[in-house]
Every structure is written in C-alpha cells, then in structure tokens.
C-alpha cells in the first residue's frame, strides 16, 4: 500500500518533506521505522528519537497504518 511521509528539520535532508512510499499492507509504525532505516541507514539515530503522528495525534509503535495515510515524523524538538 502507499502512504505519504511528512518530514521536518534534519530529516528533510535525507527524506524529502513529502514522500510517497510503498510498504506492506497492515504495516505498523515499528515496521515503518525498520523499513526506513533499511532504505536510509543514515537516519537510524534520528528515527530512534523521533515520534510519529497521524491526523495530528501521536501514535505508538504498534499502531497499524492504512492505505493513503499521511504519517508525520517528528524529530526531537529544538525550538526556543
């Protein structure tokens, strides 16, 4: 299935802000993490400390993704 990834900050330098990718049906956030690290090993560290959100709400590693969903990858805050 296809999902869209939205990235921010340093992650954008590895993965464009708005990227469509194809992953297995019923994949979880945790599987998405693994898939991304395999494709782009350089982001392993950032991903480890990033949170994920769907529809403006944080989601945990067990959350199951659905076709066409937009997944926001939120690296550690550095505002202020």
């Amino acid at each position: 299935m296809k999902i869209t990834l939205v990235t921010f900050a340093s992650l954008k330098e590895f993965l464009p802000a708005d990227t469509e990718i194809t992953i297995e049906q019923q994949a979880t956030i945790s599987e998405l993490r693994r898939e991304l690290v395999q494709r782009i090993p350089a982001i392993a560290n950032i991903l480890k400390s990033s949170r994920f959100a769907v529809m403006e709400a944080l989601v945990d590693d067990e959350t199951v993704l659905h076709e066409h969903e937009i997944v926001y990858i939120i690296p550690p805050s550095s505002g202020g």
Binding site: V6, F8, A9, S10, E13, S49, R51, A53, E56, Y72, I74, P75, P76, S77, S78, G79, G80
Partner: protein, 137 residues
C-alpha cells in the same frame, strides 16, 4: 501561538496586566550572534504548526492551573529570524513574584523539550546545522 511576523513584546506585556497580579514576568528567547564558537548569520525555525499550537496551548493551560496564574501566554515565531530578534516569548502574571518566575521557566522548558518546533542555525561561513536538543524525548 505560532507566528511568522516579529514578536511584539510590548503588546504582549500590555495584555498581561491584571488587577489581582502583583508580578508580571516576560521571557524573550533571542537569536545570539554565536553558537559553538561559530558566527551566526540568522536562524530559521520550522514547526509542525497544528501540533505545535495545540502543545503550546496545553502547556500554558497546565501552568495556569498549577500555579493559579492570573494570565499566561506563549508565542513562538517561525521562519528566518535575525540576530537579537525574539524567537519565543513567554509571559506570566501572578499575585506573587516567585510563582510568576517559576511558572514562566516551566513553560519555556517544556516548550523547548516537547513542542514540535525546530531550529536551523545558519552561520556566516555559509554552513548550516539543525539544532539538537540535549535532552532526549
């Protein structure tokens, strides 16, 4: 609140006076001209705006409850911000000063560690670097 225009500290202050408040504390986080011994040209902030606004508002409301503040507000600016300009402002008003200071520090600490806003330092040598938060999530 997330804004793209310069933060107007004077107006923020004006809105914070309360007849029951004996103390108003304003914090302004401003862009320094140096970072890790490198000369800073400007900063650029990015936010996941809807979640950032919700998170900031929740932090402010939490502080109002916890300290029984008369007033509190927080504003973060995003986009390019020049040296000496304010990137973030927090204002608190309380009957007594210790609470106004304490709540103010609480709000800025939580904004910095939790709210999805990111800073990119642009140096005068043309390089740039995304900010890293010392604390992990």
């Amino acid at each position: 609140m997330i804004v793209t225009e310069p933060i107007d500290l004077a107006t923020l202050l004006q809105q914070a006076h309360r007849a029951e408040a004996g103390a108003v504390v304003l914090f302004s986080g401003e862009v320094r001209n140096n970072h890790k011994n490198k000369s800073v040209n400007y900063l650029e902030y990015e936010a996941y705006i809807p979640m950032a606004e919700t998170a900031m508002e929740a932090i402010v409301q939490q502080a109002i409850q916890q300290w029984q503040l008369q007033y509190a507000a927080a504003v973060h600016r995003i986009g390019k911000i020049k040296v000496s300009e304010s990137a973030v402002a927090v204002i608190t008003a309380h009957a007594h000063r210790n609470e106004a200071y304490e709540a103010n520090q609480y709000i800025i600490e939580r904004i910095k560690s939790e709210v999805p806003i990111w800073k990119c330092e642009h140096y005068t040598d043309g390089t740039h670097e995304w900010g890293k938060n010392e604390r992990s999530l």
